[in-house]
Amino acid sequence: MLDVDKRLGDFTLKASMTLPANGVSALFGVSGSGKTSLLRLIAGLDDPDAGVIRIGTQTLVDSRRGICVPAHRRHLGVVFQEARLFPHYRVRGNLSYGMRPAARARFDSIVELLGIEALLDRFPGTLSGGEARRVAIGRALLTEPRLLLMDEPLTGLDGARKQELMDYIVRLARDIDIPIVYVSHDPDELAAIADYLVLMEHGRVIDHGRLDQLLMRFELTEYLGGFDAVSVVTATIVAHDDDYALTQLSLADGQRLILPIVNEPVGTPLRLRIPARDVALALSPPEHISYRNKLDAVIERVGTLDRRRSAVEVSLRIGSQVLRARLTRKSHDEMGLKEGMPVVALLRSVAFDTRR
């Protein structure tokens, strides 16, 4: 629970919201939108001018009652943009710096989860960017935090390292039972990691809600920037076809999808990310077409984007899930698309993460 005001020079931050007590909540906005400032307020590295911050039943800040718990008593884990490891301690020393006695038993499992066993006796100066950040995440986790705050932990890593660390973070969010507040300006990253999204601009919270729901809101398209074109859908692996190296998935309503082989056992839930521009519509199931993924859907809503007069956005209902498609206004008019009409959605590309 959060309700804070903070003035920093001529920039004011005003935020008031309640975040879910589990999963990954992402603060999203361009740089200068106040997301890192908000994170610093939660961490106790800055004090708000006025407001209340609570975690569960514990009050961290209440300006009216004069409460402001200092950073070192908040029991929050913070992973900074730069790893901020202590250069004079080895990796092992860094990890155990804030370790609670109760976390000693989990030392080995956290080290293994983050893949840093081989680094324990090295000094931070000898680590690569990705390794250092994994150590920083482990160091924060071993304090047994009630909440893990992550400030753009992937910034500045190159493609492969970034993907690698992102996989670690996704696995971590799945395996540990600590809520995470994740700051980022990268839509791809958030679509892969976040469950809950807080949109920020000029120090204000524009909207917040479940990621898949916010992504369906046409009027937020502009704020969502790079997000404007993704839907998030969940599906479960039902079969593998080793001959063709394909994996078959089932959506909640039983419809099937085919993906290039996914190295996860049958029954694993996947989170799929489908760009709106990669969804084509047909009025009847087309034949002789190379697209493998065709889904029966019903048009739920048709909207326009203010910025693009040529395009139309369509949200499609597939069972209990929603998919967004973008097409030209010309196609829309020629096909005579209306709300409530059954159509076939053709998916050109699907990206996925192993995330429950």
Binding site: A71, G77, R84, P87, Y97, P124, G125, T126, T143
Partner: protein
Amino acid sequence: MLSEVEWQAIAISLKVAGSAVGWIMLPGVAIAWLLARHEFRGKTLLDSLLHLPLVLPPVVVGYLLLISLGRQGWLGQWLDSLFGITLPFTWQGAAIAGGVMAFPLLVQAVRLSLEAVDPKLEAAASTLGAGRWRVFFTVTLPLTVPGLLTGTVLAFARALSEFGATITFASNIPGQTRTLPLALYTLIQSPGKEAAAARLCVISIVIAMLSLVISQWLSRHARRRLRERDG
């Protein structure tokens, strides 16, 4: 090889310089930290006051010590009546004089290396549950060690070579406050002691060289360790 008088001068010098560095260590680090990490009213004034011993003639410093800490001085009277401590004309007084002269060198070196410590690391430590003192002793101070070493050696060398303030405040008493520079001065003043003066001169040079070599070795060692850690 060395005469008893020479040994005595060396022993007094080392004792005085060692104590001088010893007593300024704590206030030196504290004031360096204050100057490096805090903004407060009168900071510039404090900074200037600290540097005064570097630019004032040492005799003036010695005289100021004498009128404040001397038996008739306001602080000296108080020390005398409360604790029975007498500073002027004692080796402890010489240590005070040497410490005051060396103080700015220590503070400056420690301050520079404190300023080089990234406050972000301290913030990270606090989010890991470390209170202010733990942050200081486990993060800030260890990262300041190279500067602390340099400052200590500089201050030691300065206290060792101190002459003006010492002779003014602690006088030149054989076996008590006659440090190497004072002994050398005494020999130069007496006719026919040129050979003995030359010997003391050589001893001074050897001690100075030794402390320089040790300081270089220490700082190179400290820097190499940090470099190793930086890959």
